[in-house]
Each structure stands twice: as C-alpha cells, then as structure tokens.
C-alpha cells in the first residue's frame, strides 16, 4: 500500500513540478550503473550547504506568506493550525556519515518537494492572484530541485548510490479547501523547522 502511495505521489510530483525546475529522484536498481551528464563540481558540498542556507533563509518568509495568504483563522492561529504535525515525514540522522546524511537529506527534500508541488497546485487554485506567495513557492521548489540534483550527483559520483527509497506526503487533491490550506500550512511549518536542522547538520 505504501509503495502504491509512493508511486502515485511520484506521479503527481512529476506532473505538477514546474518544467525545468527539476525531476523526481530516479529509482534505480541497486546494481544499476550510476552516471551523470557531466562531472559534479568540486565544491558540491559547499553548494549543498549554500542551498540549505538559501532555503532556510526563505523558509520563514514563505511560511508567513502562506498563512497570511490563507486568511483567517490561519494568521491568528498559526500555532494551532500550522503546527509541524506531519506524519510520515522522513527522519534525519544528524550524527550519521556524510553518505547517510545525504541519503536522509535526499528523502526529506524529495518529500518536501512533492508536498510543495501539491501546495503550489492548490494555491494557484485558492489564491491565484497572490504572486508573492506563488513566487516564493516556485523559488523554493526550484531550489529544492537544485539541492536534489546536487545530492544525487554527490551520492552518485562519490558514493555510487543510484537508488534511494523515498516517501511522499498525503495527497490533498480530494480534500476540502480548509484541509488543503491546513495541510499546506502544517507542511511549511514543518519545512521551516526541518530546514533549520539540516543547515546545522551540514
């Protein structure tokens, strides 16, 4: 069942992510050859750290922009409605090796990326004129795609990891508007919290 859900989410991620903004993590068999289109840069870890910083620097603004855009009761009940209560959120082991941390990071960013795709889709429908929010969502999603590319390049080139199992959040397409808003707000709250931890870990 989980695997099915993950497959569906991956499909949604593929469908809704902005063209050119990245691609879902390829699922490759363990024995598959890991190759990239061109060699990874030498400062890849620095770029990953900068990307985490970039995400972290904008996470709070995105969170505020989101709940502000949703209107009441969200701005006045952020803690209640936007608490970081996200089930099945991938775990991160900050004390692990670089490879383990990169794998955990990959799973988290993949999860967040898919969820951000759902939120972007919902907000274009719910708040189509809020360009500030859309811009922040888009920029964050793009940065996540870049981070995924760098992590994958690092795992592939240095650790020869070509396959990572990932999980995705719940699908909000069938939920009502408030639930969509609430789930999105909770996810961005979680994102804000997690990205700060990741910055510290790298």
């Amino acid at each position: 069942m989980k695997v099915l859900a993950a497959g569906i989410l991956s499909l949604l991620l593929v469908l809704h992510w902005k063209h050119g903004a990245g691609s879902p993590l390829p699922i490759t068999p363990d024995n598959a050859t890991c190759t990239t289109r061109h060699p990874c840069p030498s400062n890849l870890m620095t770029q990953i750290r900068n990307q985490l910083l970039q995400l972290n620097s904008s996470a709070s603004a995105l969170f505020i922009a989101y709940y502000t855009a949703q209107g009441e009761p969200f701005p006045s009940n952020v803690d209640k409605l936007c608490g970081p209560n996200v089930t099945d959120f991938p775990t991160f082991h900050a004390d692990g090796t670089e490879k383990d941390k990169l794998v955990d990071l990959y799973r988290i960013i993949a999860y967040l990326g898919a969820s951000l795709g759902n939120i972007t889709r919902d907000q274009k429908a719910l708040n189509p004129k809020d360009q500030n929010l859309h811009s922040k969502l888009s920029s964050t999603a793009d940065t996540m795609r870049g981070l995924l590319s760098n992590v994958l390049c690092r795992l592939c080139n240095k650790y020869h990891v070509s396959h990572v199992d990932v999980s995705y959040g719940p699908d909000t397409s069938g939920k009502d508007v408030f639930q969509k808003k609430k789930l999105g707000c909770q996810l961005l709250g979680k994102y804000k919290q997690v990205i700060a931890e990741l910055v510290q870990a790298f």
């Binding site: 050119g20 289109r37 061109h38 990874c40 770029q47 970039q54 793009d142």
Partner: protein, 941 residues
Amino acid sequence: MTLNLRTKKIYPTGYFIKYLYKMLTLWTRIVQASFIFLATESIGVLLDPCGHISPESPVVQLGSNFTAVCVLKEKCMDNFDVNADNIFWKTNHATVPKEQYTIINRTASSVSFTDISSLNTQLTCNIYAFGQIEQNVYGITIISGLPPEKPKNLGCIVNEEKNMMCQWDPGRKTYLETNYTLKSEWATEKFADCKAKRDTPNSCTLDYSPVYFVNIEVWVEAENALGKITSDHINFDPIDKVKPNPPHNLSVRNSEELSSILKLAWINPSIKTFIGLKYNIQYRTKDASTWSQIPPEDTSSTRSSFTVQDLKPFTEYVFRIRCMKNDGKGFWSDWSEEASGITYEAKPSKEPSFWYKIEPSHTHGYRPVKLIWKTLPPFEANGKILDYEVTLTRWKSHFQNYRVNDTKLTVNLTNDRYIATLTARNLVGRSDASVLTIPACDFQAAHPVTNLKAFPKDNKLWVEWTASNESVNKYILEWCVLSDKSPCIPDWQQEDGTIHLTYLRGNLMESKCYLITVTPVYDDGPGSPESIRAYLKQAAPSKGPTVRTKKVGKNEAVLEWDQLPVDVQNGFIRNYTILYKTALGNETAVNVNSSHTEYTLSSLTSDTLYMVRMAAYTDEGGMYGPDFTFTTPKFAQGEIEAIVVPVCLGFLLTTLLGVLFCFNKRDLIKKHIWPNVPDPSKSHIAQWSPHTPPRHNFNSKDQMYSDGNFTDVSVVEIEVNDKKPLPEDLKSTDLFKKEKSSTEGHSSGIGGSSCMSSSRPSISSSDENESGQNTSSTVQYSTVVHSGYRHQVPSVQVFSRSESTQPLLDSEERPEDLQLVDNVDSGDGILPRQQYFKQNCSQPETSQDISHFERPKHVSSVSEEGFVRLKQQQISDHISQSYGSGQMKMFQEISTADDFGPGTEGEVERFETVGMETAIDEGMPKSYLPQTVRQGGYVPQ
C-alpha cells in the same frame, strides 16, 4: 520566347503542339506554343513535366562543385521527338556551355559546375521541341552558402530573480538560414533549449532564473543546411554569474552634532540572504558633475548603511550605490536611484569681503561713506546667513553698531579716521571680523602695486601684480566695462594680502574692454590704485575706421581718421591697414601704427581718382571701414599761382618797360607815328642869296659851323618854271622837317637828318648844341638850282631862299620835344624820307643847308635803300658828284669840332644835357641850312 518554369509547374502535352506544328509557320510557333501552354493550364488539366532535375533543392557550399542531372520522360521524348542530346542547360537565363554537359544515356544529361560563387542560381533543363522550339523542361534553384562557424566567447549573466542571458560570437556570415540554440543542463538533467532569434543570432535569454548553487553546463549549437557545430561547453554556478538587483530605498540623513557627515541607509537585494555583497558608494555636491567614491575597502562587506565623513557643512550631496557578490564573481548591479541630503550648518568659515566708497555729495563736516561687502559663498557661509553686524569705531572708545540684512550700509562719517568691522552670522555662530580702515579726509594714498598685468587664460581674466614693500592686508580688485554708451559700473572682489595672481570672479563678457583697478589695503588705509585695461577675449572690430582726406595734393594725400569707439573695438587695436588703388591699378596696402590718426599717401598720380579703404586690426582680426574716394588735382597747390603770377608779373614788367621805353622814346614814337607837321600856312619863302645875311642871328651856329664843314647839302630841285610851290608840297616839306631836323621851324634841315641817321653821333651832338640855339622863328626854305660840278656847268643856276615866318606846330615850339623827335628819327623813317625826297622833288625851295648838315646820313641812306637812292639820284646827281670830296672833308671837320673843337662851355653843357636824354648818335639837325652854309659848310656854286 523561353518560359522559365520552375519545379512543379505544369507543362503542355504534345497533341496540340503537333497540330500547331502542322498549321502554323515556323515564326509563329513560339507564340503558339505559349498559347497552347496557357490554354492547357486554363482548362485545369494537371500535366506531368517532361522530365525532372536531380537533386531537387540543392544547397551547396560556396566554392564547391555541383552536378545536376536532367532526366526526360519517354512520353515527352516521343511527342517532341527529342532525347538527351537535345537537352541544354541554362543558369539565370544564360545557356551553359556544352563542355559542361555529360550525356549519361538516351534520357539523362548532366551538367557540372566548379567553384560555385553565386548565392542563388536558377538552373533550368531545356530542350528544342521538334528540333527548333525551345522548351523548358524543369528548373531548380541552387542555394549557396557557408556552414556555421563554431560560436566563440560564450558567456552568461544571471539577472537576479529575472533571467539568464548568454551571449556568444557567431562567427562568419553563412548566407543561409542558421539556427543558434543555447543548450543547458545540470549533471542530472537537461533543460529546454533556448533558440536565438533571427535578428539576434548572438544571444539568447532564458526566461527563468537559474537555480543557484547548482552547476549548469551551457553551450551553443549552430546549424544550417550545410552543417552543425557546437561551441565549447561552459560550466558554472549561476551564483557566480549573478548581477544582483541594485540596493533600493537609499536614504540620506544628516547629524546635528557633526556638520561634516551624512548617514546613508538602503535595502539590499534579496540575494544577500545567501551571498555576501560588496558596494560602491558614490557622492557629489548637487551642482557638481563628477562623482567621488567611498574607498572600496570600506564597503567590501554586506551592510545596509554607511556614514560618509569629511563633507562640507551646509552642503547638499547626492549619493548612489550599487552592489555585487563580495568575492568579485559576477557583475555589478545597476546603480540605485540617487538620494540627496544636506549636511548640517557650521559657523561661517571666513569673514566677508569688505570695502567702502565715499559718496560724492559732501555735507559740511561729514562725508557719506557707503560700506559694501560680498555675500559669503555657500562653502564659506556654512549655513544660511541671518544678518551682518557692522561696527564703526571713531576713537578707541566710540562705537557704532549696525545690524544689516543687506550687503551695503551708507553712513555719514566725520572727516576723521574710522575703523569698520564686519561679521556674518548664521544659525550656528558668527564669522571672524573683517576690518577696514577708513582714513581721514586728508589721508594721502600711496604705495601702489607695480607691474600690473591682466591677461586671459582658460576663459578667465587673470590679474597679476607685484606688491609694494609695505605690508598689505588685502587687495581690492575693481573692474567695469568701458563703454561710450554706458557709465562704468564697477564690480569688485577682495583678495588676501598674500595673493599676487588671481582671476576676476565676475560674469565677464567677451569682446568687452574691462578697466581693472587694483588697490592695496594697508593698516592705515587704502593705497594708490593702479588700473589696466584688458579683454577676456578679443574679437575683430565691429566696424572699421572711417577714413577721409585731410589734404589732397597733386602727388600726395593726407588721410585722417578717428579712433574707433571702444564699443566697436572688441580688442586692442594693434594696427591699421590702408588699402588704396586707382580705378584700374593694383591695390596697395600700408600698415599704420595704431597710435596714428593720419597718414600721408605719397607718390600719387595727379588728376587720378583713388579709392581708399581702411581696416583696424586687433589680435583676432580686422574690419574694413567704408570705402572713400578722392581725386588728386592736376596741379599742385600754388603751382598755378607760381606760373600765373610770374607770367603776369613778367607781362606787367614787360608792359611797364614798354611803357617806360615808349615814354622814354615818346618823341621818337611820336615822330614816327604822328610827327609834328609844320604848318605850311605859317611858313614863308624868302629870297635868299649867299650874300644875304640871315634874318636871324645864330651866333652860336656861326661858331659851331664856323669851319664850314657842312658841305653836303640836301638839295631840292625845283623846276625853274615852278615858282610857286603848291601847298601840298609845303606840307610835305613840313613833314620832312619833323623827321629830320629840329622843329624850330627849320624845315630846311629835314633832308639832312635823314642822311645822318645813326652813323654820326658826334655830328648829332654838334647839331644838338646847335639846335639849342636855332630857335629863330623864321624858317628859311631854300631851293638850290643845281649848277654844275667840277667844271660842269649847271643848266640853271638859281638860288632861292625861303623865308617862311609860319610858326611851327606846337611841338616845334618846345625845344626839348623837338630834340627827342630828332633823336628818334636817326635810324629809320623810310617813309618820311620818301616823303621827304618826294617833297624835295616838288619843292625847289627846300633848304640846302640842311642837306649839308646831315650829309653823312644822307650817304648812308643812299647806300642802303634803293628807292631813296633812286630818288636822290634823280634829284641830286649833280650835287653828289660835285661835292663828294667836300662832303668828306666837312664831315671830318665836324667830327673834329665835335670832339675837340673849341665849343663854348655852355655848348658843352647843352650837349651833355641832351645826351643824357637822347641817344648819343642821334644827331639833331638843329641848324638851318642857310645857317650851316653861313658857317661855311655850304657855299652855293
């Protein structure tokens, strides 16, 4: 006619062609073929071409070889009776030489081209239908060009939050439609291509901002019909190519504590959240055009404010700022919007310039003094000047304070010495005091500056001087525009006592003459001013001088002109140029020093029209004045007078001399022109015989002629029968008497005088002496009847004597006149002689004694004048022959008597007197013939 049918056109079939071929003549076939072709098309029948060319749409590289093949269809070959041999090729309607053809088989012919150079070539395959009608079978277009070159110098710039634009050098022109495609990819995925627009084949802009911190690989692919080529790949992190958005909301704030600082603040672009920035901050004063920049090392880190120091108080500054990634990778942002702020006030940094003028109107014991000063420039005022405070000190303890908002103050001061001080006050404080000494009335200014110079440089009028030996507090420079139309309104400025070179800080105009005065100011008052004239920039005069003539001579002319008014000079007049010429001659130029106002043109031609024009020159050029013409006179001044006056004087002198001469010779003239004619009515003829004593006693005569020298006697032969002389004859005798004898009624002496004329002046002198005594009133006319000579017996011996008592004419009664007339008579008087002889011929009673008296003259006359001689011969042949020797003897005796003879003293005196008045040789026959005879000169035979 050739129809150039291109690929996929419809071509006619052969049926109609065949029919027409049979029906029409050869020359109409071409038109008919076209008609059929059109008719076939019009009925909408799709017809296959008779053949085709391979390749259909060739694109070849310039300079390469190309071969095309035309293949005919069997059906056409049958209808038109043609095969591959009948194929001929054309390029752009020109037939290709057959050497380039190759017959492949019965249906196919190829053509080959080497080194294609034309970009677009129309190639057609043609045949001669039925051997004669040119028919196009198929056509293609050969397109030529070049393959793309490898794009070079690929570079990208990431505009923050906007896009990424990449540029490259596309290389040579390909002449073909060439596509340039910008390709990009991450290590894990590839992005959509960016196709360059046709009008900008050297750049392409991605319409999204790339993700930072992920290396992206970019390259350009160029492709056209002749090939495809890819540029070198560049791999970069977009953050290293970013051009941030400029900082915004720049603000400027001053500090009340420090008047030399301004605080800047701004908002950084959003990219600063994950990269470090550095800045460029530039500033300038509001009116300046150039920017100053904060040292880069002071702005090399991310910040959102900055304090600028070392600014001038109360000055408005303008700022701008830009930023870029602090590691230097990437690009500077655009400049932010400018923001300005004013530093806070400070107390005036310098005392105002201070000067005074004493007004011309004086009241008793007081003098109005106008104190003037300059507003401080903003950089010295350091704030808004609220007012000025003026203090006048007459004595050490006597103060007068004035608070003035204006920049002048007029006060009535006594004739004493005053000290004036001036301070300017603003919100923060007051300036130092400017001190000025206003000397007493009797103050004598001295110690002027020396070597005062003024010259333009860098569009400014500089003034330089040498200070006197005295300690100078400051200098006052005054200047004004010199003009004939407006008064000199001076402007002024103050310089420190250490300054010896400065420029006038007024709004000076070009081409204006400035009178600049420099006055040194000493402790005890102003020194003597020194002035100089100068121009900021000279120009050619606006008008030229108007030349005129002051004096025009025959060969020279003095030109004069007025100095140009200063308003039209536009510069210092360096010299004048005078151009003059005649109507046809060359123009002559003369340069004249500017100090002159007149010039003399010399070597001019007389009586000639000259045209003169004159230019005044400054350092920058000259200007001609109006043309002036004058004509030199034909004669110089006084020349006419010099000619006329001497001529007139000469004429007058000549006339005068003539008059004098005539006056002196009036008797002679009178004798010739209107001689005294004795009045015959007052004459009488007396019988005379040699033994009859004369009726008059001529003692002197007797003495004079006592020697009997007169042997020559003019004889008038009167016919024997003519006893009574005619009145006319008597008149003639009188005339004769006027000419040749003294006019004392002695008509008998006339004939003798004629002969004596000029040859014997001594005789004349004797005659004069004699004539002075011969003033008897009786004239004796004698007629000598010629008797023989030397044994010749005269036919008639009759002696007659005329004793006329007729008085002489008026003149005859005056001995002086008579003497003059006798003298004049000496050398000429042909007519009278003629008359005389004629008269003699008709008057037998004319005296013979006259003849003897004037014998020498008579001889001379005879020898010179034929007519006279003829008459004389007729009359007195016998006489001449008879008395020739006697005549000579008598002549000599007379001469001796005249020169050495024992004449009385009174006689000598008379002679001298007469001689002074008349010519010496003019013998005056003053004696009567009978008297002469009586004296022994003549004895009738």
